[in-house]
């Protein structure tokens, strides 16, 4: 085990260095907080299970060309609708004779792409709107929150549908549509968190040190809002995957022949009674990934809950 150069004594382990009560540098202080969170997270079995599945998903997406037994677009009409295990198709083949397993493996890339884009855009938009509304108050608050209310009043799938039909079908537009409907709850959460801390003494203290509004919001309020947003994002991810799949199912998300899981279910719908595997396999994939996100979110909530860990 190697020894970090910042540690003063000679014979201390990484573990001791990370759990010390008297960190000697900014980096050590920050790492030790992360390490303690990791220890708390690690003790939650179900959350670790979710994290493992998601890590596996990322690896599968990364190494799709190596892992996939066949080309996901290669058709073999002679072997169409083969049952799982028949003709060498482990998960069966679809109506064009394409290998479902390979398509699922390549589809994980699309799922990850959608999930990461939404996870990057929606909470950030919500954070900006919510903290500005909560901290500035007055008419800024009124205007921003009424806009948020308007977006909240739209049924999510219907707004996404309208948006996609206006801009044209495709993954990017589906992602935009999802972001457009996903940010208002984050704005609400960020505003609620901001309202509880804007009158805290530590915010007054930094104002008295002469910090401007922008600095107070970004350096002092954001760090306290982010943890509840992260939890909410992970819990929402399941829903976002389902909406993306739903848009794919309706033909408004990923376009054929792209192996998006929702579009694959939509393909298999016609044969669902005679050839159950065509729709079931992608359905199972969506189910497992959604479940993994939910488990992870639950574990993160235990670790990151600001009400618990702030003191």
């Amino acid at each position: 085990m190697s020894i970090p150069d910042a540690c003063p004594q000679k014979q201390i382990t990484w573990r001791e260095w990370l759990t010390t009560d008297t960190p000697a540098s900014r980096r050590q202080a920050r790492l030790s907080v992360w390490y303690h969170s990791w220890l708390a997270f690690r003790s939650n079995l179900m959350a670790m299970f979710g994290l493992t599945i998601l890590l596996a998903l990322v690896l599968i997406g990364l190494f799709a060309p190596i892992l996939a037994p066949q080309d996901p677009f290669a058709q073999d009409l002679a072997a169409r609708l083969s049952a799982p295990g028949v003709n060498g198709y482990m998960f069966g083949s679809d109506s064009l004779g394409r290998d479902i397993l390979s398509r699922l493996i390549y589809g994980s890339r699309i799922t990850l792409y959608i999930v990461s884009l939404v996870a990057l855009m929606a909470p950030v938009a919500g954070l900006f709107v919510g903290t500005a509304a909560g901290y500035l108050g007055g008419w800024v608050d009124v205007v921003l929150m009424r806009i948020t209310d308007i977006f909240l009043a739209f049924p999510r799938l219907v707004l996404a549908l309208a948006f996609v039909s206006a801009l044209g079908a495709g993954i990017e537009n589906a992602v935009l549509a999802i972001v457009l409907t996903a940010w208002p709850p984050y704005a609400r959460i960020a505003r609620a968190e901001t309202l509880t801390i804007r009158n805290a003494d530590f915010i007054h203290a930094i104002k008295l040190q002469g910090a401007g509004t922008l600095r107070v919001i970004t350096r002092h309020i954001w760090p306290l809002c982010i943890s509840s947003l992260v939890v909410r994002v992970t819990l929402d991810m399941a829903g976002i995957i389902l909406v993306a799949a739903g848009l794919g199912f309706l033909g408004l998300g990923a376009q054929p022949p792209s192996p998006e899981w929702g579009a694959m279910i939509s393909d298999g719908r016609r044969f669902i009674l005679d050839h159950w595997w065509v729709a079931t396999m992608p359905g199972l994939a969506i189910f497992i990934v959604s479940l993994a996100f939910n488990l992870l979110g639950d574990g993160l909530r235990d670790v990151l809950d600001p009400k618990k860990s702030s003191q």
């Binding site: 202080a29 003494d201 002469g210 003191q311």
Partner: protein
């Protein structure tokens, strides 16, 4: 700020209120007092008497006030500028609420230095930790690793690291254990003489104020009902009935 430093803090006919029209609540009525540079003035009164509100008006946290507040000879307007914050700092009542839960001691102190463009942060932080009686090993700790007294020392360090000339103290010891209270009060006294600070202190505890301050204003229901110096206070020479009542209560408490 300019060199017109005949006065530290001066308040004249200050009214502070919350809400407007029918919901208006007058928190402070016609308050006036002056603290000379290097002096220490204490405001005593029960909860809700408006003493903390005066501090908030001086710092700009209570926006609705009228009258005349001047600090180091400069009359304060609606907004406070950076020079004001450089000259006037405040220590809050509850050390558990006044430190950001996600910032280390080092972060808090360096940000204060950064905001006012001080050079040599490492040296200054080491120096201020020494001055407030914290070991260097506390520098990278998080607030949750500190006790109440240690937190209050960090809060004092944060206020003093930018070298202000006036320190506003909002019941700085009332959230602490009695033994820690004495330590913090002695620390504040030592720092005042070392750095030639002007103190404006608010407390509900007569003993604390008489230990710290040379002059005292007694507040009741938003008004300063009586001003007296420490000698008069120790001799129990109060003229206003409310002050007498306060003194009686304080003396009785000590006998018990």
């Amino acid at each position: 700020m300019t060199e017109k430093t005949e006065t530290g803090i001066e308040l004249d006919q200050v009214n502070i209120w919350f809400g407007e029209d029918e919901q208006r609540v007058d928190a402070v009525i016609n308050a006036g007092f002056a603290v000379p540079p290097g002096g220490s003035f204490g405001l005593v009164g029960e909860s809700g008497s408006g003493k903390s509100t005066i501090l908030r008006a001086i710092t700009g946290l209570a926006p609705t006030w009228s009258g005349n507040i001047s600090v180091l000879g400069n009359r304060l307007g609606e907004k406070r500028d950076k020079e004001f914050y450089r000259a006037v700092q405040m220590v809050f009542q509850d050390p558990y609420a006044s430190l950001h839960p996600r910032q280390t001691v080092d972060h808090v102190l360096s940000e204060a230095l950064h905001l006012h463009g001080f050079d040599n942060p490492d040296k200054r932080i080491a120096q201020i930790l020494d001055d407030v009686g914290l070991k260097q090993s506390f520098r990278f700790r998080w607030p949750h690793q500190l006790s109440g007294g240690q937190r209050q020392r960090v809060a004092i360090a944060r206020a003093l690291i930018i070298e202000p000339s006036i320190l506003l103290l909002d019941e700085p010891t009332s959230a602490l254990d009695v033994s820690v209270q004495a330590e913090i009060l002695n620390l504040l006294k030592r720092l005042q003489s070392e750095r030639d600070l002007t103190y404006l202190m608010v407390s509900h505890d007569l003993a604390v104020v008489s230990h710290m301050c040379s002059e005292i204003g007694v507040m009741n229901q938003g008004e300063i009902v009586e001003m007296l110096d420490v000698a008069a206070l120790r001799a129990l020479e109060a003229s206003h009935p409310y002050t007498k009542q306060l003194l009686d209560a304080s003396v009785q408490k000590r006998r018990e």
